[in-house]
């Protein structure tokens, strides 16, 4: 398969509008706000990725990164992650699991399914901004997929933060 084209977009899958707003605020502080597409459940996230349903006509190319909440209606985040990482066409897309949970089983499941990073949403807004900005900076602003070593390095700070 040819290297996936990149849309330069960031997909944020998050059902809670307040989190969406806070995340967008945080990303906009780093001028990434305009690059974000937001979906509010797992089904839409998959529709977005497969360019089907309401997202049928979106511009082609994979998002630079998917920020994926775990607890979502319809299809939850872990299911989305599972399908993405199982699909050869999609598995290249970096997925950062964004969650309120520090539960070990979630963290383990996320990494087992091939999640690239796991970030517990910090309570403190500033920390949250920093965390989101960091994620956006790594995957949103760069126009190519990070090398393997880089990805591994990114996985580590995510884990540490939990």
């Amino acid at each position: 398969m040819s290297p996936a084209r990149k849309s330069g977009r960031i997909l944020l899958a998050e059902d809670d509008p307040r989190d969406v707003e806070l995340t967008l605020q945080a990303l906009s502080r780093h001028d990434l706000g305009s690059k974000v597409d937001v979906v509010s459940d797992g089904e839409q996230a998959l529709d977005y990725l497969y360019r089907r349903g309401t997202w049928e006509r979106r511009s082609a190319g994979h998002p630079a990164v998917v920020l994926l909440d775990l607890k979502m209606p319809k299809v939850d985040g872990l299911e989305v992650l599972r399908q993405v990482k199982r699909d050869e066409a999609l598995q290249i897309i970096p997925v950062v699991v964004l969650t309120s949970s520090r539960e070990e089983r979630d963290v383990t499941a996320s990494y087992d399914l091939g999640g690239n990073a796991y970030v517990v949403k910090p309570i403190h807004f500033n920390e949250f901004v920093d965390a989101v900005a960091e994620l956006g900076a790594f995957w949103g602003l760069l126009n190519e997929a990070p090398p393997d070593g880089y990805r591994a390095a990114m996985a580590a700070p995510g884990r540490l933060r939990s």
Binding site: L22, Q25, S100, S101, E103, H124, F125, F128
Partner: protein, 772 residues
Amino acid sequence: MKARRQSRTGKRGRPAPRPARLPADFRLLIDNSPLLIWLSDSSNHCIYFNQRWLEFTGRSLAAELGDGWLEGVHPDDRDAVRLEDLRGFDSRIEFRLEYRLRHHDGTWRWILDQCTPRYDKRGRFVGYLGSCTDVTELRDAAANATRWQRRYEGALQASGWASYELDRAAHRMMWSAGIENLIGYAPQWLTDAAGWTNHVHPDDRDELRRQLDALLPGEASSTLRYRVRHRDGGYLWLEDRVSCAVEDGARRFVGFVSDVTERVRTEETLRRSEERFRLATDVVNGIVYAHDLDTDRVECSGRLLEELGIGQRDQVLDGATWLRTVHPDDRARVRAVVARGRGMAATLDATFRLVTRAGAVLHVYGRMQVIRDASEEPRRVIGFLVDVSGIRLAEEALRMSEERFRLAAEAVDGIVYEIDLRSGAVARTGRLLQRLGYGDSLAGTGQAWLELVHPDDRELSARRYASLLAGTSDTAQTEYRLRDAHGNYHHVLDRLLVMRNEAGAPERVIGCSLDISALKEAQQQVLDLNAELEQRVADRTAALRAANQELEAFTYSVSHDLRAPLRHVAGFADLLRSHLAGADATAQRYMETIIQATARMAEMIDKLLALSRVGRGEMHPAHVDLSELVSEVREELQPVVDGRPIDWRIGPLPTVRGDRALLRGALQNLLDNAVKFSAGRAPAVIEVSAAGDAREHEIVVRDNGAGFDMKYAGKLFGVFQRLHAPGEFEGTGIGLASVRRIISRHGGRVWAEGRPGAGAEFHFTLPATRED
């Protein structure tokens, strides 16, 4: 010696001896002598016989030379001549021979032959000279005397006696012929005193010698007894009446001995019998008595006399004294028995009481017999008494024991039974029989009993019984259901004891059956209760599991759902703050407080979740080096320490078995506390040490910080319990609760000691493992 014998007895093939050549005057001298004279050379050949000898025997010199002369000696004397010859020639001393030599008229004449050694001028032995006298007439006179002596000896011998003469100085002894009858040796073998002593039993020799030494001449004879060995090897007892006389200045003893072996044996037997008799009266603790009715003397013996206090064990009493020892209440009866006994021949017996001088009462059994004279007049009463107090006590004890046995059978509410295996007879008794409706006692065979056993239990019961009889064990126990007369079944516990004979074959079975129906019922109840309890435990466990799952779900949702709104408050408060940049200070302070409060709440939620994870998470036990763990934690605490001077005193710490992450958490909390609460000290001293034994390790974390009041020690480990105001020390009040949970999950204990201002000590224990 041999040469002599050969020379005298002659030997075939020897050249004929030749007569000696004698000096003429010597020859003349001996040829004219009235005595019969012979000469021998140094090698003991007879080399000459004088004229008188040749005239006497009527033989030629040539015939007599060498051993030829022996042909004229009486055949019965030849051996004696030879024997005596040997001794004489060998020792080269003077000696005498007496033998019969044939006269030329054919009669035997007794010859006394005086033999004298001859020496030459230089003193060399050259042979013997014998000068012989015809003593036949003399001997005839002596023979007369000897005849008398023979008669005397014959009489002595016939009476079984023998006599002897002993010359101790010369070591000579002369026995009469009777000795041969006694000990099997002829007198001629007993001529030597030392030889005789050898025949005496070694144990008796010293005594014999001592007694002979003590015997003085002229005193009346002494009677000695000693053992002498018979020729056949056995010993016999000799009685020796010996007296002593002085003859020619030497003491000579004359003794008459007789065989008293039989008497000694009889005496010994009698002595033993008496001793047995005495021992027997001792053993039975009795008295043997003989009451002479004429003299009214009671000769009695027996140790019981001592016990009665009426004297020694051998005693002579009068009848009245004797009767006084009888218990006053029994005297009339005893008198009546004795009176009755005088009128009849049979033995009589009675049991009555004796009173000791000390007042104790003895039960005795007496048996007596009246001895009558020829005219049937009673003369004596012979009898014995035996102390039977012990036997009476035993009888009483047996009676009591049987009574107890009967009462016990009543008391246990069971059935006691006995089966005689030889006759098959069964005897049963016990109150349970009545309750079962089978009357006072139920006899019958074992088979009849088995019919009453519940069919399901019958086989096992019968098998147990059979294996008890066949086996080596003496006891068995079975449980079965037994049908009563109304057809209801009772649970019965049967214990059996088998009695065996010496060969091990079973003879009797003693058993006891107990009604354990109530017990069985109770047992069943317990079983039911247990089952119910187990069900309840299972239910509770399931409920608990459900509650746990619920709790897990709850903490999960807390983690998610509670945090989310909090995050939103915090997030939007922050956003709001940026909009309040121009607002007044009070509004901004309010804003700050909101943000801080949310942060604090978030922290508490995190800690609470951490605590719940400590309780729920799976343990991963491994060997954990506590020293290593402490240095890791110290490293991590550097930011908290923030350059403060802290005197760390870390002692040697053990390696324990536990979950590394959890233990790390516990140490983290404790050291963090220690650092935190010793903030005001310069320097702060934090000590970590270990002690313990084979069972457990005890770890102590000590600081010299703020300490605490022991009355709040119990609250320290509770959730959200804080002993210090938030302004004093930061903290959520969850750390020590986590520590407690971690340590208790490891099977340890945790406690704290402290005083306000004097520091705190936190102790925890961990079980020691064998690998440690």
